[in-house]
Symmetry: C2
Subunit: 116 residues, 2 copies
Amino acid sequence: MKITTLKETASVEMKMEGAVNVLKQVPLSKNDGAPHFSFRVFTIGINGHTPYHQHEVEHLNYVISGNGALVRQGGQETPIGTGSFAMVLPGEMHQYKNLSQHEPLVVICAVPKEYE
Amino acid sequence: MKITTLKETASVEMKMEGAVNVLKQVPLSKNDGAPHFSFRVFTIGINGHTPYHQHEVEHLNYVISGNGALVRQGGQETPIGTGSFAMVLPGEMHQYKNLSQHEPLVVICAVPKEYE
């Protein structure tokens, strides 16, 4: 069993091409013995966004805090904010954007452990 | 892709033996096409708790709000609250208890899709 918080979890800048002002933390992962999947957390700063991209694994997301948009295939933007849940399936184009000028957008992003 | 909130998600009473005053919601699951795992949410009311039990799959948890305890093997209680992450591995005894007299303890509980 592991019990932790974001304050106790190391933070690294997301280096992927297309990412702007995004920090990554991995509070629960295969390094803790996770059998199937990991919980990552992205903190997207003012004017920040994740890459507009797709990949072969799904994302299960929960928005811890903030206000922004989830960009979908074709560029359609759906408002998301504190309390939103989202599932991005394999191969679906997607991007998280922070639309607040006052606070970060903080998002749990659960993925299969092979991915993180 | 699915985007939703708890307000849009049906809620049912948790009927498992040992559960007291617990509501279950499943905002993201295999019914939405999840390839590997599901996000459930348990809302544990005043004086409520989940069963003290173990099972063959892991839980990955995030506490959305509230204050309580995660009971571990041997009855040891670890305080948890808004912002806590926890990973309960297969076979580990565990129980979530709400210790607030004022608000529910609301917990994301991610599990392999075969379990929910």
